[in-house]
Subunit: 248 residues, 2 copies
Amino acid sequence: MNITVQQYELVYNSLSFGIAAMGAATLFLWLSRNMVNAAYRTAVTISGIVTVIAFYHYLRIFESWHAAYTVVNDTITATGVKFNDAYRYVDWLLTVPLLLIELILVMKLSAAETNSKGLKLGSLAAIMILLGYPGEVAADNTTRWIFWGLSMLPFLVIVADLFGGLKKAIDNQPESVRGLISNARFLTVASWCFYPVVFVLPMLGMSGGAATAAVQVGYTIADVVSKAVFGIFIYAIAVRKSAAEAAE
Amino acid sequence: MNITVQQYELVYNSLSFGIAAMGAATLFLWLSRNMVNAAYRTAVTISGIVTVIAFYHYLRIFESWHAAYTVVNDTITATGVKFNDAYRYVDWLLTVPLLLIELILVMKLSAAETNSKGLKLGSLAAIMILLGYPGEVAADNTTRWIFWGLSMLPFLVIVADLFGGLKKAIDNQPESVRGLISNARFLTVASWCFYPVVFVLPMLGMSGGAATAAVQVGYTIADVVSKAVFGIFIYAIAVRKSAAEAAE
């Protein structure tokens, strides 16, 4: 693969940005969890668990990227050590179900509804990730498209559930947070839409170093939005709900 | 031993998954321990001790795996440095007795019963691990089968005790948690059954890289279920019991 020094450095710096953003979000969330009522602390704790898992994987991805190339005197050489794509999928397998569970927990539904929604959306999210991986590592575009399509099925069920199934639950939330929860839901869907788009870039004619750089930078931006920014949203919802409960 | 690049990478990524899962579970359990009544905090703390011990060993196993092979330009070569199997047994020697103690502690039996059950099940678990190790490192199948059989004896006594001896204690638990404690007991036995099955794979004709990969991935899945998922179960039981006590 021909990658330029500029493309290499762009990915390198994006990955370091990922480490910093995930680490900072984790510390903020855990330091702030006592600012919200006990009922919302688990949601905030899990938001920090998601970002710390991502923090670990960004450290690993960064090291793997660093090991795959050497740049000396503005000349880039592949070392022969393979850049490990699988870290992202291992990360998503753990974090994507937890992201949906954060959203469900901060809504404080009944215990039965929390369990059933958490199990349903969490399982669908795990299946979505597992179906994506064989496509990501496939060399030919046909296989990539097949698994992309398969992975989109649970994705669409999750989107339908967030906008259909959760609508009634959102209408029952205190007025001060209804907009924020609705935004968190939009943020989830919008940031998640990044992933299938990034995934198809190499299938749309992008190739070589440009495709690699676009995929790595794209996934990093999507991860920071869907995990760190989303976690701050969850915290903001928890703060407003706590304030609304204190005012009652 | 002939191992393919794919088999090597599968084990590599499974071990990294183990590190992430154990680390995440540890942080969740320790951050959440103040969410339950004081009587259950030791059970939750120990659940996190188990996962942090496993986190440490997965870091070591990952490093050992990484040192045993080099992959350059999609060609794998054994470095001659031995992959250290003993880390798993050292881990189990510490964590398996503690797992049974978690389950006993969260039941809040009388002090006398907690001590006697903890001592009995904890000792049996340690003996089970010690008897397994000479088989794991043996080259010939006869020795493997002998120590497998010997190790199964304390295992069966533990299972009998979980389903016989603990039955009365479970019937005395508050109704809201009886199902969850019974599930935790099933999860223990079901996830533990993985180990003797994984152990015999090389004795059933699997060999070379396939056997190595199956054993390493199998143990990793079993460890994540029996330690991290089990720890979350213990936490959930503690939360429900605390809520039931607050309602009284």
